[in-house]
């Protein structure tokens, strides 16, 4: 089993776990973490790729993609966390499924 395949399969597994968390979990923090896991899985696949050139020289393009991806994920996470925090302080709820009762809760 090549090194790349280990990374790719591991990445796919992490991605699947993250997808499950994002879709099935209701708690806002779980969803944010799930989305981050999906990102990490993808980054694992990409990092493994850089190692797969025939001449053994590392391919820099996947690493550049991972760096960009991390920046984007950080921004999305920050936005998600600030929405979650504000939502909790307005409604007192930790998930988006229950109808908020209109701000009269603590």
């Amino acid at each position: 089993m090549s090194m790349y395949l280990i990374y790719a399969l591991g990445g796919a597994l992490v991605f699947a776990i993250g997808t499950y968390a994002l879709l099935a979990r209701r708690h806002l923090m779980h969803k944010v973490i799930g989305a981050n896991l999906m990102g990490s899985g993808t980054f694992l696949v990409l990092i493994g790729l850089g190692n797969r050139t025939p001449d053994g020289v590392t391919d820099p393009v996947p690493q550049a993609m991972v760096l960009t991806g991390i920046v984007v994920t950080v921004a999305l996470t920050a936005l998600g966390l600030s929405i979650a925090k504000r939502y909790f302080s307005v409604t007192g709820l930790d998930n988006l499924d229950d109808e908020p009762s209109g701000g009269d809760r603590p």
Partner: protein, 494 residues
């Protein structure tokens, strides 16, 4: 002017930065000037593309594969022009909508910065010729759009923004995994190079097929095609009115355009078997489901949002028709782009009109807006005229696009799509007339006076009239489609 593509991205970006650092009192002035500049640049780009054909722009002078090229072709110029026109109208409306006396309401006046950021990322998305860059641009659009949805900061807006954000994140990560798989199989990210590689024999491996399938799924989620539309109605309805208009008219077109480039510009015909028909079938379902839901919505902005869900469906019917042959492709593509643009203009008018009407009545219930045709004639006219485009009646842009799509589908021997296109018009008539019937009823509900400035009333009407007569611009659209880089060679080597 060789730097037009770069200028179209830099200008709104500079405007956004400037708005952010300068005093609140000049927000409106800077945004309006920026909008005018972008519109001028968009016209120049369309003229340039018509004059010299599609061209590539090397950012910073670096050639692909080291640099990431921008691609300016006819369809890109068309969408940039649509964004400029609708964006300018939304900007002018917003200068009246957001109270200048209370700059701190609505997220501390952040609307102007976020709006110009969104404009920047949309222009970049239309111009990019690289699948990874599409990911970055989609995310920039998504982040600014989610922030704009949550501007009001109440529970409803935050909920809608949260749902939108999680749908956006799911799509983003899925798309990126797709890019990773494609790159692992073929080692290319530039769309034109990718198309060349996929046409070579033996390159259609399972890795690249799975990768492209993931990218298609992600873009479908971003474009809110049924059944992935769950996030759209709440997000578009609970945003401030100018934001609703921009989201429904422009943002869904961004991811649709990326999908168009992927499906027609990168993938050779039949590369992913069945995907064309599946997307068109879901599109038909979207027309049915969106229209039925629009009929049932008690609140006016939700009604408009579900009409967007329905209208998005038409955009997906083009795929199997376009693949039927070289001669049908241009006709089908022109029809689809005409629909995207006519819908963009009409939907912006409809949302701005609905928003203004809501402000004047002081509530959002359609059933309690009786007599609006007499008490708010300009807004009622705007909504009714926008409805003409939604239904696809002559002489509207909606009619032109449907006529082209129907004749393309008959020409392609796929008459069943013509039935869907015709039936969709009837459904649109049903949901529009339900609302119009309330407006023209004899009873009169209490309504507030017309709000100053007058552009809150006239801007929706201007957009609806533009959509109504847009069919006159059909020759321009076909000329621009003729210089598209989307039509992948029809032959696929074994």
């Amino acid at each position: 002017m060789d730097h037009l593509p770069a200028l179209l991205i830099i200008t709104p970006l500079a405007g956004a930065a400037l708005v952010f650092v300068t005093s609140r009192s000049v927000d409106r002035a800077i945004t309006t000037v920026t909008a005018a500049l972008i519109t001028a640049l968009a016209v120049l780009l369309a003229a340039r593309v018509l004059d010299t054909g599609a061209f590539r722009y090397q950012v910073g002078g670096w050639a692909a594969p080291v640099g990431i090229d921008l691609v300016a072709d006819g369809p890109a110029a068309l969408f940039i022009l649509l964004t400029a026109v609708v964006g300018s109208a939304v900007t002018l409306y917003a200068t009246g909508y957001f109270p200048s006396s209370e700059p701190t309401r609505y997220g501390n006046g952040l609307f102007w910065t976020l709006w110009l950021f969104m404009w920047t990322s949309l222009n970049a998305l239309f111009l990019t010729g690289d699948v990874f860059n599409v990911y970055v641009c989609l995310e920039l659009v998504g982040i600014s759009a989610v922030a704009l949805v949550t501007l009001k900061g109440d529970a409803e807006a935050l909920r809608a923004g949260g749902r939108y954000l999680f749908a956006s994140m799911l799509a983003a990560m899925t798309y990126l995994l797709g890019v990773a798989l494609v790159y692992s199989s073929v080692g290319q990210l530039d769309m034109e190079t990718l198309r060349g590689v996929l046409l070579e024999p033996g390159m259609a491996g399972s890795g690249v097929a799975v990768g492209l399938a993931l990218m298609v799924v992600a873009l479908v989620l971003k474009t809110a095609l049924v059944p992935a539309h769950f996030w759209l109605p709440t997000a578009h309805a609970s945003a401030p009115t100018p934001v609703s208009a921009a989201l429904s008219a422009l943002v869904v077109k961004g991811s649709y355009f990326a999908l168009l480039r992927l499906m027609l510009g990168v993938m050779p015909p039949g590369f992913l078997p069945g995907v064309d028909v599946t997307l068109a079938a879901l599109g038909s379902l979207a027309i049915l489901w969106g229209s039925l839901q629009a009929m049932l919505q008690p609140r006016i902005k939700q009604f408009v949002a579900y009409s967007t869900v329905a209208q998005i469906g038409y955009l997906f019917i083009v795929f199997p028709i376009a693949r039927a042959g070289e001669d049908v492709l241009t006709l089908a593509l022109t029809g689809a782009l005409l629909h995207a643009i006519a819908h963009g203009l009409a939907k912006a008018g409809l949302f701005l009109g609905a928003g203004s009407l809501m402000e004047r009545f002081g509530h959002a219930e359609i059933a309690r807006m009786r007599g609006a045709a007499r008490t708010a004639p300009v807004l009622t006219a705007a909504i009714a005229l926008a409805g003409v485009t939604m239904m696809g009646l002559p002489p509207s842009g909606g009619f032109g696009s449907k006529w082209m799509l129907i004749s393309a589908s008959l020409h392609a021997g796929q008459w069943w799509w013509a039935l869907v296109l015709g039936g969709g018009g009837l459904l649109a008539a049903a949901y529009m007339f339900r609302v119009i019937a309330v407006f023209v009823s004899d009873a009169e509900d209490d309504i507030g006076p017309a709000r100053a400035p007058v552009r809150l009333e006239w801007m929706p009407l201007a957009l609806a009239v533009a959509a109504l007569f847009f069919v006159l611009a059909a020759p321009l659209v076909s000329d621009l489609v003729a210089v598209s880089t989307l039509d992948a060679p029809a032959v696929m080597l074994p």
